[in-house]
């Protein structure tokens, strides 16, 4: 095979119970940014792992520069000029940038020489980084730079990037894109994995779309709308959530003032004086880059951790009250992690329905569990939110991410709490399910509930929030009407600007 820089033919790979890749054909030219996208479980990761030598296909062949290519390990892949930046970084917080980079190299040069190389590469690609900084002190965006420079130092011909922007502010995304374009101009091929369709349209020259382990489409993403791309991805059309035109906001329902929580570890995030207020019918969106205290805030609101400060629901102080007492009073929560936090993986949907609904739905009066009532409640959640499962006896583990998320969110909504806190409600969820969930949250607000949505997806927040605030380093910015704020302003707040005035200064 000549002409194409990289080519894969009829790649198939099975895992117990699932065909992850099914005769996937795929090729890339030098100097192109090629998008690979699809829903969770569509086989993206498996294909990429195959290319990077982390997995071997059951069948199929690959060629790199026209030669047979079948890496048995990442070392072999790197020797052939293929490198990868993972979504989850493998960095040691307590070590310096240079030490971390040296650890990831097969043959690291002497330290002084390495530091020089890091500085030079950083300068050349607009990725400023001090080789001696401790990684624990860096922002998430800077940590990603460490990973990218680690790859660039190996002079890659093919760079694989797995969901690189999920941890970045909009400004950091722009910087990253500039770097990637420069690399491509110098002849590197980039395989870009993402599910953010707008980004793909902006950055990529070609796209390969996977669904259920198969290639379902190849296209030029610039010629399609984000909507068309999404429909290719999920294989059917769906509607965007609609907010009622006459959304009115009522009296103050949920009010936090000065919530603080010490960090659990040296590099962990605590909460410092978090204050906000949410009216009946209002959706408060809390934006922020991952790891800035989202999980801590969700736990402090749900009652899983004991924060100092005040949290009132309709005037009633909730501090000092446990999670079930808060549920009884009308504050419910849906955590980020579905398996193992919102739901017990090996328990049935009936048992998982009982898990949070015991109090409000009175499912165990006097301690004796009314399992038939729990089962009917599980069934009504499944029915109302179109949860696809064999039945209420199915184990939570057996459901797809989107279906389980619909179940755990629906479980809270059908208990009709007065206020609901959700963390990352559509994380790792297919587009159709995400749209169902967002619509349900909006409907709930319309019925007079106060809703707090913590999310790293800025588009999602702009779509459903009435007010928005940004969490950065455990501090919450002032709360702004969503119509009075721009993406750029939010981006600056996510990057650490203290308030709107500073944002205005930065813009000037």
């Amino acid at each position: 095979m000549t002409g194409m820089f990289f080519r894969a033919q009829e790649i198939s790979k099975s895992f117990p119970g699932v065909k992850a890749n099914d005769r996937v054909d795929f090729e890339m030219a030098t100097g192109e940014i090629h998008a690979l996208f699809g829903e969770n479980g569509s086989g993206k990761s498996t294909l990429v792992k195959t290319i990077y030598g982390l997995a071997q296909p059951d069948e199929g062949r690959m060629w790199l520069r026209g030669e047979d290519y079948m890496p048995r390990s990442p070392q072999q892949a790197r020797a052939k000029g293929v490198t990868m930046v993972f979504q989850h970084f493998s960095l040691f917080d307590a070590m310096s940038v240079a030490e971390n980079i040296a650890l990831g190299m097969d043959q690291p040069p002497p330290r002084a020489r390495l530091s020089e190389m890091i500085a030079n590469t950083g300068e050349r690609y607009g990725l400023p980084l001090s080789p001696d900084s401790r990684v624990g002190d860096l922002s998430v965006g800077e940590r990603q730079r460490v990973e990218i420079i680690r790859c660039l130092l190996q002079d890659p011909d093919l760079l694989i990037m797995d969901e690189p922007t999920s941890v970045l502010t909009p400004q950091e995304v722009d910087t990253l894109f500039a770097t990637l374009r420069q690399l491509v101009a110098e002849g590197t091929a980039i395989l870009y994995i993402s599910h953010k369709l707008e980004e793909i349209r902006e950055l990529c020259d070609r796209a390969t779309i996977l669904r259920g382990g198969r290639v379902v489409a190849k296209c030029d993403p610039k010629e399609k709308s984000a909507r068309e791309l999404a429909e290719l991805m999920v294989g059917r059309s769906f509607s965007a959530p609609a907010r009622a035109a006459s959304a009115t906001e009522g009296e103050l329902l949920l009010e936090a003032s000065g919530l603080s929580l010490p960090p659990v570890s040296v590099f962990g995030t605590g909460l410092t004086g978090v204050s906000f207020s949410v009216r009946a019918g209002e959706v408060l969106g809390i934006a922020g880059v991952a790891g800035n205290g989202q999980e801590e805030l969700a736990a402090a609101l749900s009652g899983e951790s004991r924060a100092s400060g005040s949290l009132r629901l309709d005037g009633v102080e909730l501090q000092g009250k446990g999670i079930n007492e808060r549920r009884r009073l009308g504050l419910s929560a849906a955590p980020e992690e579905r398996l193992g936090h919102s739901a017990a993986p090996d328990m049935s949907l009936t048992e998982n329905a009982y898990l949070t609904a015991a109090v409000r739905m009175r499912l165990s009066p006097g301690g004796i569990v009314d399992w038939s009532a729990a089962r009917s409640f599980a069934e009504s959640v499944m029915h109302s939110f179109d949860v696809r499962a064999a039945g209420p006896f199915s184990a939570a583990r057996a459901l797809s991410g989107g279906n389980l998320q619909k179940f755990v969110i629906g479980r809270e909504i059908l208990q009709t709490p007065r206020a609901l806190v959700v963390n990352q409600p559509t994380w790792g969820v297919d587009a159709a399910a995400a749209s169902v969930i967002r619509q349900a949250l909006l409907d709930m607000a319309e019925d007079g509930a106060a809703i707090v949505v913590i999310s790293q997806d800025l588009d999602e927040l702009i779509e459903i929030s009435s007010t928005i605030a940004v969490l950065n380093g455990g501090r919450l910015s002032e709360q702004l009407r969503v119509e009075n704020v721009t993406r750029d302003e939010l981006g600056l707040l996510m990057g650490g600007a203290k308030g709107l005035r500073e944002v205005a200064d930065a813009a000037a």
């Binding site: 119970g17 549920r327 017990a344 165990s364 399992w371 057996a398």
Partner: protein, 361 residues
Amino acid sequence: MLRLEPRLEASRTWAALTPVMAVAATMVAGAVMFALLGKDPLVAIRTIFWAPLFDPALAAYARPQILVKAAPLILIAIGLSLGFRANIWNIGAEGQYVMGAVAGGGAALAFYPLDAWWLFPFMLFCGLLGGLLWGLIPAFLKVTFRANEILVSLMLVYVAEQYLASVALGLLRNPDGAGFPGSRNLQTYESAHNAELIAGTGIHLGVVTAALAVVMVYALLRMHRTGFEIKLSGQSPRAARFAGVNQAVLTYFCLGTGGAFAGLAGIFELSGPSGQLSIDFNVGYGFTAIIVAFLGRLHPFGIVFAGLLMALTYIGGEMAQFMLNLPSAAIQAFQGMLLFFLLSMEFLTRYRIRIRRLERN
């Protein structure tokens, strides 16, 4: 080529089959071992598994003995299973068993030779309390100082044994015993004697209590919120916190129940089959019950089956020892095989074996 593949979901069929297959495999491997020792393997296996139950000459003695041995094993194991399901590891049931016997026996002997209807229930209550309090020590240390309950409960076994030795030689020594160590024999103390309910069957109140405990725990796990909390904490601690489970209360409950059941087993044994509080009163029921709990897959009815099976191999093993002149080490090895096969077969519930032809190239 053989390959192991993890199963998506644990196989229910295998989960039900493994104990049966483990017993079958133990019989085969045991037969080989007995043959190597120069005994007729069929006779040996028959003596262990069949004779105690059905041999016309032996069953009359052996059947009641099986119940007598199985009852404390089941009662202790059923209490332990609650904690094990919640990831709370009480390894010290042996100590709780001893302390139950000492507390209950001490209470009864304190009133010797009183003849009163309330003495027997009072003695049982003190036995329960002794085990309960001994079990609550590791619970308190775990909740308050995050001390590892495995170590604490285990070390308390040795404390309990020393205490038993001390009272058997001192405080509770039989004043009419001509200076021999050991307490008065409760079998001869009418109002404290845990006699057989139906003569010749081996059924004493401890057997009935064990059966009741099985049913109660089964109902608790099936129907009560606490049962749900126990299962949830074991499977998914974070989800348990989200469900509002109070981990401290659960720790006290599980270790306390385990201790109380072990204490009851201790006092039933002391006031019935054993009779006398002596240095070697405890024979390892508390440790064997751990095996019984896992052999029964922590399921109440499984534990009944496992307890009876374990008691059968004890009685059958003893018979094989004196009838066929087998060394006691061979019997212990045989019981060890049972455990080994059970654990290795359990692997099959989570993994499947695939036979694959080697790929070309």
